[in-house]
């Protein structure tokens, strides 16, 4: 019985090998392209320490948490003082991701926001103006026309539920594979955090 069970697995292995060889697109799991520099450096030097969240300093796949304190902000000069009262706004995020403050700054500058969560989560509510771009829409091809329609001159910010969700990373991996020239950032905090800080949202919920 075990011999035949192994034979079943062997046949599956042969078919899987053929499938892998014949498949057009390679499977991608990690980001290959160089990640963009800290979005805060050029636009708002007063508010954050670039060392906190500079994705360029981070090797791909490094998910270690940032061990520094949140940046110190001066309420008198901080344009986002009303949001900064919520600790989530400046809470450090893991390397390679951007903070809520940086995300909101890009939002105000007109960056395209992509929602990498499930469709029902997007429909229940999403960041204002965000496009639903779950990774499966890129892997099955249904979202590729939407990806080509994105303004490549503006940065792209991808978010999911936050924490250790991989959805944003997965969408970024497949977007980069399209080589559309986007400057891609991943929001370290999730949609619920965005809502709790009181930043703009839209949708049924």
């Amino acid at each position: 019985m075990i011999t035949r069970a192994l034979a079943i697995v062997a046949v599956a292995g042969v078919l899987a090998s053929a499938h892998m060889v014949l498949r057009d697109a390679p499977i991608r799991l990690t980001r290959q392209a160089a990640q963009p520099a800290d979005p805060g450096q050029a636009t708002d030097p007063a508010t954050t320490d670039p060392a906190d969240t500079n994705p360029a300093d981070t090797p791909p796949g490094d998910t270690s948490p940032v061990d520094t304190d949140p940046p110190v902000t001066d309420p008198a000069t901080d344009p986002y003082a009303s949001f900064a009262s919520n600790p989530l706004f400046d809470e450090p995020v893991r390397d390679g991701h951007i903070t809520m403050r940086e995300g909101y700054r890009l939002f105000e500058e007109g960056a395209t926001f992509l929602d990498a969560r499930h469709d029902y989560e997007y429909e229940a509510g999403h960041i204002a103006g965000a496009i639903w771009m779950e990774a499966s829409r890129l892997s099955d091809g249904s979202g590729i026309p939407d990806a080509y329609a994105i303004d490549a001159s503006m940065p792209v910010v991808i978010y999911c539920v936050g924490g250790d969700c991989d959805s944003s990373e997965n969408t970024a991996v497949l977007l980069e594979a399209l080589e559309l020239g986007f400057e891609i950032y991943i929001l370290g905090k999730g949609y619920d955090d965005w809502v709790s800080v009181g930043l703009p949202v839209e949708g049924e919920g």
Partner: protein, 189 residues
Amino acid sequence: MKQPEIPTHAISLAASVMSLGARLLLGGMFCFAAFKKLGDPQQFAFAIKGFKIIPVETAEPLIVVLAFVTPWTEMIAGLALIVGLWTRSAALVIATLLLAFIGALIHVIADPNIQASCSCFGDISLVCGDEVGWCQVVRNVVLLGLIAVPLLLGGGKFSIDGLVTAAKESIHGPALGLGQGADQFDSDD
């Protein structure tokens, strides 16, 4: 008082029907799950990565191989189960897969920092939602109970194994000690 005897052919028929039901249900489910995964192996590879059992930084090729081999194994074992060819062996493969899936699900549930999608049936949620939880564990334990039927009883009369055994018996006579002889073919190894 003497108990009425149940004819042995009736026992064999009941076992064959039970096995057929379990085979069609489980074989169909696994073929469907494999079909959905093979339609988008990129998503299944993401799902394996999301379980955070295999480190993507050091073992990315292993995740890619599993993203193809796992659904093809489900497909071949599922088809074998449906037609009743090497029934016990196919059931053993599926039982092993179910045990591995249960272990992976418990790993995710036990770590609150992991937010993973099951992707058990591709983009379809069957009985449970997409997010990993105890529902999927219970579902797989139930399936494990069902797979025990063909694993223990074999394919029965309504299977290729049964037909082959019946053909052998018609040539060589009934096998000693194995009664109705519908499921010995897969016991040969």
